[in-house]
């Protein structure tokens, strides 16, 4: 595994060019965007939060996203976190696949998502909220939680539309714990975004509006099969902004505000992603 990571990182560093991804500026919500075939997107996601009565934490997730086919994107996540006055631990991995069943563009474009998760309880990446996830889950110490590993299957129905430069995406999440006989857990994520300019300028520029996208996200839990609803779970809302550095990385930032007592007051999300075009082409060419 270390060898694969090293290869990917070195390839990213020494690849002759990087390209811009057309991904919207979301942290939680998925759009119908699929990774371009043959491209590898390397993303480092950071999440900082301070639970009430708990210690501040910093979660880091490395995401490797590969465009296997025009209709199929596959990703691996490696997650870890550091909690103040506690420790730093690796919390687990996820393997995700997204498939776009329809060719061509439609008013609403569906994408199917399936993910296998193998993460320990102290995981604080909050890549989605499902079931009755709440702030109390984040109060466990690393020593208390690291022995419990959750293996689960997560599915999402992703719906996405485009209109006049706007992206509007809705995700419905269903998750099943494979270890224990717990009911299905549900969640949602909604996102809307738009580039600050729809047409590009003729001359090269760094800070011109077409290099920025802005939007907002709303996400949270929907309870379980035994108790479906918006209560007894957490919900967040936040603006999001993305800067696409020409011939460089995409940089995104979003403060997420908790909407009820089960949520943290504020989460700060930061992401840097770098797209390596046609990774195996470069590899073979060397």
């Amino acid at each position: 595994m270390l060898g694969v990571i090293l290869f990917v990182v070195l390839n990213a560093l020494f690849a002759p060019v990087s390209v811009l991804a057309q991904e919207p500026p979301y942290f939680i919500t998925y759009s119908d965007y699929m990774e371009e075939p043959g491209n590898l997107d390397i993303t480092l996601k950071s999440l900082n939060g301070t639970p009430k009565y708990g210690n501040p934490f910093l979660s880091q997730t490395l995401e490797l996203e590969y465009g296997a086919k025009g209709w199929w994107t596959t990703e691996v996540y490696l997650a870890g976190q550091h909690t103040s006055n506690d420790s730093t631990i690796f919390t687990g991995w996820r393997w995700e696949n997204r498939v776009r069943p329809l060719s061509g563009e439609h008013f609403i474009n569906p994408v199917f998502y399936v993910e296998y998760e193998n993460v320990s309880s102290p995981d604080k990446s909050l890549l989605e909220i499902t079931g009755h996830d709440s702030m109390s889950d984040l109060l466990l110490t690393n020593a208390q939680g690291r022995s419990k590993t959750e293996r689960s299957l997560e599915t999402k129905l992703i719906l996405s539309s485009k209109a006049r430069g706007w992206d509007i995406s809705e995700n419905f999440i269903a998750e099943k714990d494979l270890n224990e006989s717990e009911p299905w857990e549900f969640g949602y994520a909604l996102g809307i975004s738009r580039p600050l300019a729809l047409a590009a300028r003729g001359s090269a520029c760094l800070l011109c509006p077409e290099n920025f996208s802005a939007g907002a996200e709303l996400y949270g839990g929907l309870g379980t099969a035994e108790g479906f609803g918006l209560r007894a779970t957490s919900h967040y809302f936040g603006p999001t902004i993305q800067f696409r550095v020409p011939r460089g990385p995409n940089i995104s930032f979003s403060p997420n505000f908790g909407l009820n007592d089960n949520s943290l007051g504020v989460l700060f999300r930061f992401e840097v992603s770098y797209e390596v075009p046609q990774i195996f082409h470069h590899w073979r060419a060397r």
């Binding site: 390209v19 563009e105 729809l198 300028r201 046609q278």
Partner: protein
Amino acid sequence: MIGQARCVVIVLGVAITCAAMESRWLEKVPQADRERANPYEKQPDAIAAGSRLFANYCAQCHGSDALGRGKRPSLRSREVQQATDGEIFWLLRNGNRRRGMPSWNSLPEPSRWQIVAYIKSLGESRAGEPARETEEKHR
């Protein structure tokens, strides 16, 4: 002998099907889309902007000279250059996922028209232009 003949027929069938699929996307374009006019046609600023967008999004597969790379087709072929602006715009919007061409619908519509203006400004490739891979090695 009969087995060999079957193999030849199958291989020929696959080759003919693949060749037919190359141009199949053109047949799918609705008439209304075919006739759409490019609001940026032949505008120097838009062509320059399209050139930058092409370098960011398209050159990775089609090469910075648009002559294609490996299995990725040339955009300076007669087929593409003789297609209408509306047809190319339709392909950018819908992609051809089974053939590896993604949809670029996440790019705003004006940006896609700028890319079309740039592609059409390149014209058909002529003999003597740099070969695909030679050009790649100089990047």
